[in-house]
Symmetry: C2
Subunit: 151 residues, 2 copies
C-alpha cells in the first residue's frame, strides 16, 4: 500500500501550526541578517519539502526493516511542529534554537537511516537537510543579534 | 529491534508542548463543568498514556505490514502536539475542539489498525481512546459555556 497521502496528512499538521503561529510584528521588528529569506518564501519551501519527504517516506514504507527509519521520520516532523509554536507562538528565540538543533539532528538521522534502505529516498531528504542547516543558522543569527528579545 | 524508546522520544515532543503551553490565568477563569479534572492530574494521565502508546507501537513495529498502523500512530501524536499550542497557546477554544475531534478520529483509526495486527497493542490504546473521548467532551463543554471567550 502506498502511504504517500497518509504521510502528507501528517505534514498537514505542522503546516497548520505554521499558519496559526506565523511571523507577525514581533518577528518583523527583530534584527535579522541580510540573508534572511522573505516571509512569503517559507510556505513555498515547506510545501516542496513536505511533498519530497512524504514521497521519500512512502518509498521507505515499502522496504523491509523500516521501523527505525519511519520512527525517525515521525520524530523530525513532530519536532518541526513544536518549533513554530515555540518560536512564533511563545516568541522564545533561545528555546527555538534548541528545538531547531534537535530538528537538525533528527533530519540527519532520518536521512542516514533512509540511505541504508533506499538511495533515492535519502536524495529526496537532502533538500530538507540543507534547509534545516540554513534555518538553524538563521535562528542562531537572530538569537545573537537580539539579546534584548531573548527571554 | 525494540523501538519503545524512539516512540517515547516522539511522545516527549507533545510533553514539551504541554509544559510550554500550560493552563494559566486564562484557563482558570473559564467556566468549566463540575467534572473537570484538577490541573495536576493531566500530566500524570498523559505520562501513563505515553508509556502505554509507546509500548503498543513497539509491539506493532514487530508485526509485518505495520506501515499504515504506525503512520496513523504518528498522525495522532502530532495532532496532540498541535492541540496544546492551539488551546493554551492561541487560546482558541473552537479551533481546539476541531483539533481534538481530529485527534479522536486519529486515535480511533490507530486503535482499529492495531487491533488487526496485535490484540494486546489495541488494548493498550483503549485508555487513550477513553481519555480522548473525555477530553473531547471537556473541550466541547468549555466551548459551550464560554461563548464570550471564543474567537
Amino acid at each position: 500500500m502506498n502511504l504517500f497521502f497518509l504521510y502528507l496528512a501528517i505534514c498537514a499538521v505542522p503546516a497548520v501550526a505554521g499558519v496559526l503561529f506565523k511571523p507577525g510584528a514581533w518577528y518583523r521588528d527583530l534584527d535579522k541578517p541580510t540573508w534572511t529569506p522573505p516571509d512569503k518564501l517559507f510556505p513555498v519551501i515547506w510545501a516542496v519539502l513536505y511533498v519530497l519527504m512524504s514521497l521519500a517516506a512512502a518509498r521507505i514504507a515499502e522496504q523491509p526493516d523500516n521501523e527505525l527509519a519511519l520512527g525517525l521520520w515521525s520524530l523530525q516532523i513532530i519536532i518541526s511542529t513544536l518549533w513554530s509554536a515555540v518560536f512564533f507562538g511563545k516568541q522564545r528565540i533561545k528555546t527555538g534554537a534548541i528545538v531547531i538543533a534537535a530538528l537538525w539532528f533528527a533530519v540527519l538521522a532520518t536521512t542516514v537511516s533512509f540511505l541504508r534502505l533506499d538511495t533515492l529516498s535519502a536524495v529526496m531528504m537532502a533538500p530538507y537537510l540543507a534547509w534545516g542547516t540554513f534555518a538553524l543558522a538563521l535562528n542562531l543569527s537572530v538569537l545573537k543579534r537580539n539579546p534584548a528579545a531573548v527571554t
